[in-house]
């Protein structure tokens, strides 16, 4: 039975002539789980918001949307549609978890007994009883997202729309939340439409995949068929699909780690993947020993004896769970927070010996987690020029950096109009204006799709070739495996192990890349999809 039908839907933002959605036609059956995929800026969020009139952006709509047979207008209220936004901080309205869970039911006029019964059911089903009386601001990213999801589920929506619910979470929290969403669909029969880059969590479990490209639907088919027929969109698919050789005629496309392993063992022979780890420079540019930090006297230690050495021209990535303290480490190393004990040396000199400003001029640049925080002017070019004039440098350097990073076309845009990936590149550009020798990046690929991740990665490799040392903290394991010289696991307030990615990820069984899980004990030492597909290609060529 059809629950949603979209006919010839097009949309143009106010003040623009370009159509963001172009002749979208699709229908969704009751109880289906639909995964929407597409590169950043392809119109996924606009389409999802169009399905919920209360959230639909201002602009010109053409076409029709029918929800349970009723045509949606601009002012139609759709309480039967639950919507989870990309940004959890905007999604939550109240200060405590209990109030947040009550909010939806209170708005719909449920009586107190009904609201509490629904909360009781939902809390028990999702196992969040321990969070019920916590303040929202004290929750971790994963917990916040789970509470936001539960607060939508309390009103028992017939259809649940989720906009990138897990892409900002660490891999473990992301897998847990994805499993909860699949459960909602399987066990409660709720129709789910989810737009997400994290293909590993949803691709195998969804009924159909909608591929979007430049505002249009490129394909809308079951996952195996979709993966087989759209090699051009491979970068959106799970690792088990990305390892397949080009033009491969695979009858049964593997979608999970288990199927990927089976595919390898049935078609190829075991191999040892050579590790081409570069020799690191002996010169250390940033070094910390036994750092201890806490936010207030009575709060727990966030850093507890952290040690780290960053070599010249090295890319080091610290991975770890959301809220573990990775960003705090970065801020301490960048001189933005002061540890209460421990020593840090930058370019051989104690951090404390740098006078105000001296550290950040031609020495260190620290990029925050939110790239938009970097901009305080109306356009990127204006912001760069403003920064250069404040630093007393030549203004023409702004255009030079723009060209060097390939972001010249973005220079006259307002920073808030940039997509996540574009903003990240522009933010790195701004950090390079002071010509630093060390770049500290906080979650540089958070929420980006693989295409943008590779753009950022390529840029980091170029910077490395120019002799700049890069320290990233990230929960994106594939990014860490692909572009780092060394990776370290941040746990319990310190980096507990650091090694080249091949060694680091093939040694871990849970906190590791999907590629490493697929290749485990078969292609020994393979930790990225690229390494597996290269080995497959080599074996194919030998045949």
């Amino acid at each position: 039975m059809e629950i949603l039908n979209c006919k010839d839907l097009s949309f143009t933002y106010n003040g623009s002539t370009e159509r963001v959605l172009k002749d979208i036609n699709f229908s969704v059956q009751k109880g289906e789980l639909i995964l929407i995929q597409g590169g950043s800026g392809c119109g996924k969020t606009t389409l999802l918001k169009a399905l919920k009139p209360e959230l639909s952006p201002l602009g010109k709509y053409c076409g029709e949307i029918f929800l349970e047979g009723k045509r949606l207008g601009k002012s139609t209220k759709t309480p039967q549609t639950g919507f989870l936004m990309q940004n959890t901080d905007s999604q939550t309205v109240c200060s405590s978890v209990y109030e947040e869970l009550c909010f939806g039911g209170e708005n719909l006029g449920f009586d107190s007994a009904k609201i509490n019964r629904r909360i009781g059911e939902t809390v028990s089903y999702f196992g969040i009883g321990h969070l019920l009386h916590r303040e929202i601001s004290t929750l971790s990213g994963g917990e916040k997202q789970l509470v936001a999801l539960c607060s939508v589920m309390v009103t028992d929506p017939g259809i649940l729309i989720l906009d990138e619910p897990v892409s900002r979470l660490d891999p473990v929290a992301a897998e847990e939340l994805a499993a909860v969403i699949l459960r909602i669909n399987r066990e409660l029969g709720t129709t789910v439409i989810v737009a997400e880059h994290f293909a590993e969590g949803f691709f195998y479990g969804c009924d159909r995949v909608m591929l979007m490209d430049n505002g249009s639907i490129a394909d809308f088919a079951p996952p195996k068929k979709c993966a087989a027929e759209n090699p051009g969109f491979k970068y959106l698919f799970p690792c088990s699909v990305r390892i397949l050789p080009e033009n491969a005629q695979v009858l049964d496309i593997p979608l999970t780690v288990r199927e990927g392993r089976k595919f390898l063992s049935e078609n190829y022979s075991p191999a040892e993947i050579p590790q081409d780890a570069e020799k690191l420079s002996d010169e250390s540019v940033l070094e910390c020993r036994d750092l201890w930090f806490r936010y207030s006297r009575s709060s727990p230690d966030i850093l507890a004896g952290a040690d780290l050495t960053l070599h010249r021209g090295e890319i080091f990535t610290a991975v770890g769970a959301n809220g573990a303290g990775k960003s705090t480490l970065l801020k301490c190393l960048g001189g933005l927070l002061s540890p209460y004990s421990g020593k840090t040396k930058v370019m051989g000199k104690p951090l404390k010996s740098y006078k105000s400003g001296e550290l950040y001029r031609e020495c260190i640049s620290v990029l925050p987690q939110d790239p938009y925080d970097m901009f305080i002017r109306q356009t990127v070019r204006d912001d760069y020029r403003y920064a250069l004039s404040a630093m007393g440098r030549d203004l023409s350097y702004a255009d030079e950096i723009g060209e060097r990073l390939g972001i010249s076309r973005l220079m006259d845009r307002h920073p808030y109009d940039l997509s996540g990936g574009e903003a990240q590149l522009c933010a790195i550009g701004k950090a390079l204006l002071s010509q630093p020798k060390i770049l500290l990046l906080d979650e540089p690929v958070k929420g980006l799709d693989l295409r943008w991740i590779s753009e950022v990665g390529k840029l980091l490799l170029e910077l490395k070739a120019a002799g700049i040392s890069v320290l990233c903290v990230s929960h994106d394991l594939e990014f860490a495996a692909e572009y780092s010289d060394r990776c370290g696991l941040f746990f319990d307030g310190r980096i507990i192990s650091a090694a080249p990615p091949g060694e680091f990820f093939s040694d871990s069984s849970i906190y590791t890349t999907p590629a490493s899980r697929i290749a485990r004990r078969f292609f020994r030492g393979a930790v990225t999809a690229g390494q597996i597909s290269a080995e497959i290609a080599r074996q194919e060529a030998d045949r």
Partner: protein
């Protein structure tokens, strides 16, 4: 206090806040300050309470010391500064003003703890969803804005901007960061209101998940608070309990001075009394475990 009806909690707070703001009386200001300090210690962790009380005491001290520098009224010069008298009367008036302002700040801070955002939505959401939305978003916006200003300012510092020490640099830095944070805040507020709408806000008359029934203790507390509030206002207005500071300090006299003091004292210490009683009861109950 959470067991009391939100309207009762709000009313009790207003019953002490209004006389503190409008009664010109050194006694009232001092008692209200002490009442708020006691409530802070009972409601917040000792460290946080001590910090807030220190800040309030600092405001009082500043007002006390600074007022005689600007006002030279009064007949008891203590010493001369630049040939102008630094008078006892202006000093005491400054103390009265400082104590009132500090007490009001502390009561408002307590209010934030006693009445949550959810309580505000419950109280006003039914009558005026728009008003409740404005109140709830404004109270939520200020701490978020403060946090964002910190984030943007660190982001700018971390890339070498405005790290100079000149005042012009700092001013430019502050203005740039504030305007970026304000733009973010406006964007964020728009998104939050869209989310509230999408979650059915204003769809039907609002109900409340927590059952807030007026119980006996609510009626008793609100009657006591209202009676004391009325007594304080009536005694203050009709028996002229206002202090005069100039030209000489003259505390109010007359047979109604004592009842006024007693009523104000009881009014200012109603909330700390309830909090202390709850804490003792909790100690007693947990001692049995």
């Amino acid at each position: 206090m959470k067991r009391f009806h939100p309207a009762v909690r709000l009313l009790m707070l207003c019953c002490v806040l209004i006389p503190t703001m409008f009664c010109r009386s050194l006694f009232a200001a001092a008692v209200s300050f002490l009442g708020a300090a006691a409530a802070l210690f009972l409601l917040k962790p000792a460290g946080a309470a001590a910090r807030e009380i220190t800040l309030a005491a600092g405001i009082t001290l500043l007002s006390t010391v600074l007022n005689p520098l600007f006002s030279h009224r009064g007949v008891t010069p203590l010493f001369l500064i630049n040939g102008r008298p630094y008078t006892l009367e202006a000093l005491v008036y400054g103390a009265d003003m400082g104590l009132s302002i500090a007490a009001v700040i502390m009561w408002i801070s307590l209010g934030g703890r006693l009445i949550s955002k959810g309580d505000m939505l419950y109280l006003f959401g039914r009558f005026s969803p728009k008003l409740a939305l404005v109140v709830s978003m404004t109270t939520g916006c200020i701490p978020k804005l403060g946090h964002k200003i910190g984030e943007i300012s660190r982001a700018q510092k971390g890339t070498g901007l405005f790290s100079g020490e000149s005042r012009a640099d700092r001013l430019r830095f502050g203005a740039g960061v504030f305007s970026a944070a304000a733009a973010w805040s406006a964007e964020n507020a728009a998104e939050t209101s869209a989310v509230m709408l999408s979650r059915g806000y204003g769809y039907a008359p609002r109900t409340c998940g927590t059952e807030h029934r007026l119980r006996r203790r609510d009626i008793f507390a609100v009657s006591a608070a209202s009676a004391l509030f009325a007594a304080v206002l009536i005694l203050f207005a009709f028996s002229d309990q206002a202090w005069d500071f100039y030209p000489v300090i003259s505390p109010p006299q007359g047979r109604f001075a004592c009842p006024f003091k007693a009523a104000f004292f009881a009014s200012a210490f109603e909330i700390p009394f309830i909090l202390a009683k709850e804490r003792l009861k909790w100690r007693y109950l947990t001692a049995k475990i």
